[in-house]
Symmetry: C2
Subunit: 226 residues, 2 copies
DNA sequence: TTGCATCTTGACCAGTTGGTCAAATCAATC
DNA sequence: GATTGATTTGACCAACTGGTCAAGATGCAA
């Protein structure tokens, strides 16, 4: 299992923690996510995180040894959720349905956890100082595995030839854009993914663009069987 | 003309500056771009910018009143370059050629000025504290104008119906992804846009995906005239 | 050369911030 | 309810950082 600065990447709750410890660590991680995603690592302050979590700075540092430890724990905390959708891509499923489902999940996460998206984006944009090893190991393994599935669909003539990596990058880029640049999206459209109507519209636009882009029908027409 | 914290958005060199002033302001802006894009506003330090520009911190503050003033000047300095490609989208051109050219320019900029891309991304992700007014005024005006062109192409039956805003967002997201997340791209592919081969491959992949996505032929086939 | 404005810098200051520590408080077990 | 370990906090410290200031260095025009 990959870890970040000693923080296990799994979202599993460490078992040896008391009731108070688990409650406080969760409060801290929740507050840290908000703070780090809003201000970045340097801009965040331990004092604000503590205040947001409802405790003193000293007490926060009783639970995490340093600011960097909090940051790593917050990163580890979101990483599983972040990578989960890609894992569900199934070689035996229908390509259109599989990719549509993947895009739907990514947009759902962008809508539900925009802070997680921004935290991750921030980390990677600064050169991924903490999670580069995970990108190079775990993520690369996962992406290589799923790229093979897409290549299989191409070989079977189910989708147009396309470099699977660029397809994956395109899906990541578009879906995360709506979370990371929500301020810009809101400035231009007046809405963002927190609006259910806009979320549905975005999902349809992105899905149909990408699926049509690789030669698939979307939304699926009953034409051939009518 | 829009401005940011008193800094004119135009890249025009102020005319009333001495030779020394112009040289030093440029050195500072260059250094500031590197520093702010790498560490974000909070993480950047005036001292490092000054060192990178080859002068003392005091001297830097002789040219710019504050850290925020440097930041705003750097932002203003890149904004024109950043928005230029969209301005070239021509209603009278061929949709496929026009959009392909736009994507090509965006990728070119991502490849040539990745730091500018990251600086802009950072600013927007933090809520666009400095340039929100520009997004809401200048950018919105430009995007509205170009959306009308795309809508015109749809009405003329030249491209499939698609919300122009989502199309534009998709182009922004994909092209900028390769600059902003270059570390992740490199971790997964071993290459980035600084590699001419990878840049060409990326341009082809993104262009064909998006153009096919809206019902255009790309790369253009001579099929109909053969 | 001289005089003046521009340019440059080191010393310094005040506010912020991550982190330490000893003491106080709380919770659970006997 | 006494004891012991876990939890919580305020006081405090050292490093860093943005910004000021007075003085010196430099460029330039007459």
């Amino acid at each position: 299992m990959a870890d970040i600065g000693g923080q296990t990447a799994a979202a599993s709750k460490p078992v040896g923690l008391s009731r108070i410890q688990e409650k406080n660590r969760n409060l801290i991680l929740e507050a840290a996510l908000g703070e780090f995603s809003r201000y970045g690592f340097s801009g965040a302050t331990v004092e604000r995180i503590a205040a947001e979590a409802g405790m003193s700075k000293s007490n926060l540092l009783y639970y995490f040894a340093s600011k960097e430890a909090i940051y790593n724990a917050a990163l580890a905390h979101i990483l599983d959720v972040w990578l989960a959708p890609l894992k569900t891509l199934d070689a035996n499923g229908d390509p259109a349905e599989e990719l549509a489902a993947y895009i739907r999940q990514k947009i759902e996460i962008s809508a539900s956890f925009p802070e997680a998206s921004r935290l991750f984006a921030n980390e990677v944009m600064q050169g991924a100082p903490q999670i580069l090893p995970i990108l190079e190991a775990d993520l690369k393994r996962l992406v290589t595995e799923k790229s093979a599935i897409i290549d299989g669909w191409i070989s079977a003539g189910k989708i147009k030839p396309v470099d699977p990596l660029h397809l994956i990058f395109t899906i990541w880029a578009t879906t995360q854009h709506y979370a990371d640049f929500s301020v810009q999206v809101r400035a231009l459209t007046g809405r963002d993914l927190s609006d259910p109507g806009f979320k549905a519209e975005t999902e349809m636009a992105v899905t149909s663009l990408i699926l049509n882009g690789i030669g698939l029908d979307w939304p699926k027409e009953a034409a051939s069987s009518a």
